[in-house]
Amino acid sequence: MIGRFRFMDEQPVNLDGFAIEDMTLGLIAFGSHSDPSPSLVIDDNGVVIELDGRAAADFDIVDSFIAAHGIDIDSSAQAMALDDVEFARLLVDVNVTRAEIVRLAAGATPAKLAQVLALLRPAELVIAMTKMRARRTPSNQAHVTNRSDDPLLLAADAATAAAFGFREIETTVPVLGDAPSNAVAVSIGSAVGAAGVLVQCSVEEALELELGMAGLVSYAETVSLYGTEQIFVDGDDTPWSKAFLTSAYASRGIKMRVTSGGGSEALMGAAEHRSMFYLEARCVALARAMGAQGVQNGGIDSASVAGSVPGGVRSLMAENLMVMVRNLEACTGNDALMSESDVRRTSRTHPIFIAGSDFVCSGFGSIQRYDNMFGPSQWNSEDIDDYLIMQRDWTVDGGLRSASEEHVAALRRRAAEAVRDVYQWLGLADFGHSWVEQAIDAAGSKDVPAADLMVPLEASRIIRQSGVTMLDVVTALDACGYTLEAGRLLDMLHARVKGDYLQTAAIFDEDMNVLSLVTDPNDYAGPGTGYEVIGERLVEINNVRQQRSVGQLRAEQAQGFSAALRVIGRAGIGSDPTEVTIGVSAATGRHIWTTLSGLSVVDVLDELLAGLEEEGCRGRIVRINDTVDLGMIGLSAARLSGSGIAIGLQAKGTALIHRRDLSPLANLELYSVAPTVTAELYRALGSNAARHAKGATPEPVRNPYSDMAIEARFHTKVVSLVAIERTCLDPTLGPEELELQR
């Protein structure tokens, strides 16, 4: 194999699997030959007797439920008669309201909507999603888990996730028996981090409901739906059991959404030769028919199956849009990691990120990849800064916000200590000092060797046996002095009594206002409408902790001040033929003391002088005060030089060799990439300048190679340094001679 292909094969994207389309296995994103043509027949009693090519007698359980509950008879005739392209155009027409699309979609069968949405190209999906999502304000969900179900680390990480702006936190367990402890620890941690954060603990359906009934979690999500009867039953449920479960959650005032996702049926080997998108269309129709307020989809655990086939990533986004079109909350995947390639996973998320979603990720791994008990996510703790900066780059609200180290450190301490105190008060566990301290500082569970795996298991056993409810947790928090957090968790219990957060796409803001389809409806209707990043939120998104001002840079530079470099008078014209001048920029030795490579200006000058001396020349430093242009600095210095040769040096480190008879931009040698120039290279530049002065042959010196994103790293600094240089200009001063004490 040739080098080019060996090299290409080594790239991370080639660790991903790519499948040739295979309809028999359901390995096809859109439009399998076995997908039915849309059809709908309703008898005189308003009963659906044919759905997407199937007669009632042949309905499977999914068809049956959709036929009985999921089709709006009033709009169905119009929706089904509408030409697919016409229908698709309505989705991107800003003059057609969201409400009108929702009305029509309610009467459309799964096959009809699948055909319509398959027509939307990627940019059209973005526009349609911008318009169709239920809630105006976008949001995001975090995973908070760890390998040892460490309650202290869970609490600290939940507080951290809340600090970064996540409004839902999903936890789960590697050990099922630990679930109650995890639910309590994450609830406490989230309440330390912020008010109104929703918490779920994803476990087996019955246990999850039990946790919800005890108030230990505030929403549920892991209620899985499938597009074929076989897989549904394999999952030990039916649409009726799931519908009942949906009502059971609501009966306790608990928010819930269901989970589905293209590719799951193919993954489990019973796709009935259908396309992933058509099967998902059935799931979404079923979710609406059951009365769930929302859906988590976009592949989820099978995202990489969809990602392996042509158009698969596109179909994942179309699935999310399908949910929105059915007037449901969309929790839009970007959950399980679907590629080893950073480029590919970013590409998969980005259109949804810019369109905005009720929850951009249905699980941003806010913790270490190795601690994510759902498996690594599409986005993980190492990506939080990337995500914050993407928000800033695009002025897009992806649901996150910056948090300072000081703030997060304080929250982590309070969260870990609150769990320690509450567990002790409730008689669940005693935690040692080192465990607490390790959990506060930890970047992940590997940093907490003190964690004892038996503690969460024993705590969970006691929680279940003694019937600990969230009221007990509130009591314990209050008794231990955590009044603020006790109040926040009591507020979450109040929210269940009010029931406003049972409405579609509900989250709480930090003042405990419900934001939902009802209270915060998406009103996008083209430019100038809909959600905009403005006011405080704009400031929050723009002010990332990495940003620097010229003032801050000036202060950093001042720390490098050296008394070794000083002005000794006006610079005259030299006559010594062995003299080479070193023309430095106006800020050199005034406000700029450190070059972009990190060398001090003084050290650079020392190297240049030493290089000149090695070749028997003498250097003289002159400061050119009337220009920021390095060519002009070098030329001006050359005109003062006894040999007619000069070195030009900007304080930031860019250097060249000039000669008095050349034009300003024609220099002899140039070190253009200041951040990569080393002390040795400056010395070589000095000796080459001397060789030019003597008429000898210079040693060719190459600019050093680097694969760093030099411009990304340094251009903002360059802008500031050049601005500082400009403030130092003073043409009336003339050139000054500088002395370097060595």
Binding site: E210, D236, W240, L245, T246
Partner: protein
């Protein structure tokens, strides 16, 4: 004012009352009337299915946790015979849970057709 399932005004459930041990779990549970109200809101926002769900939920709000869990279990594939599902539906409808009863009867019909009932001989 929002009334909890216990009949207590939700406003009176404060940290102070929790501290005094005067709050029970029914004071932080939703009242069926509230679910009915939320159903009307869902209906007004173009989601009659969510409304129907909330009305089924209103019926379930008076059932004990254990009974709710037991009904869920009974509706899972091949857990119940047609007779058992009918008895369950009847018992619910006797207590006014007519929507849930209808859902269970509908399930029974489909389960029979699709072979998802429990085998009565085992």
């Amino acid at each position: 004012m929002t009334t909890a399932r216990s009949g207590r005004d939700s406003q009176s459930v404060t940290l102070d009352s929790v501290r005094l041990g005067e709050v029970g779990i029914d004071d932080v549970r939703i009242h069926p009337d509230t679910l009915e109200y939320q159903a009307t809101v869902a209906e007004a926002h173009a989601n009659p299915q969510l409304a129907a769900n909330l009305r089924r939920a209103a019926e379930l709000s008076s059932l004990a946790d254990a009974e709710v869990m037991a009904i869920y279990e009974a509706l899972r594939p091949r857990r119940s015979t047609a007779t058992e599902l009918e008895q369950l539906a009847q018992s619910l409808s006797d207590r006014g849970a007519i929507r849930n009863a209808a859902l269970i009867r509908e399930a029974a019909q489909t389960y029979e057709r699709r072979g998802l009932l429990a085998d009565p001989t085992t």
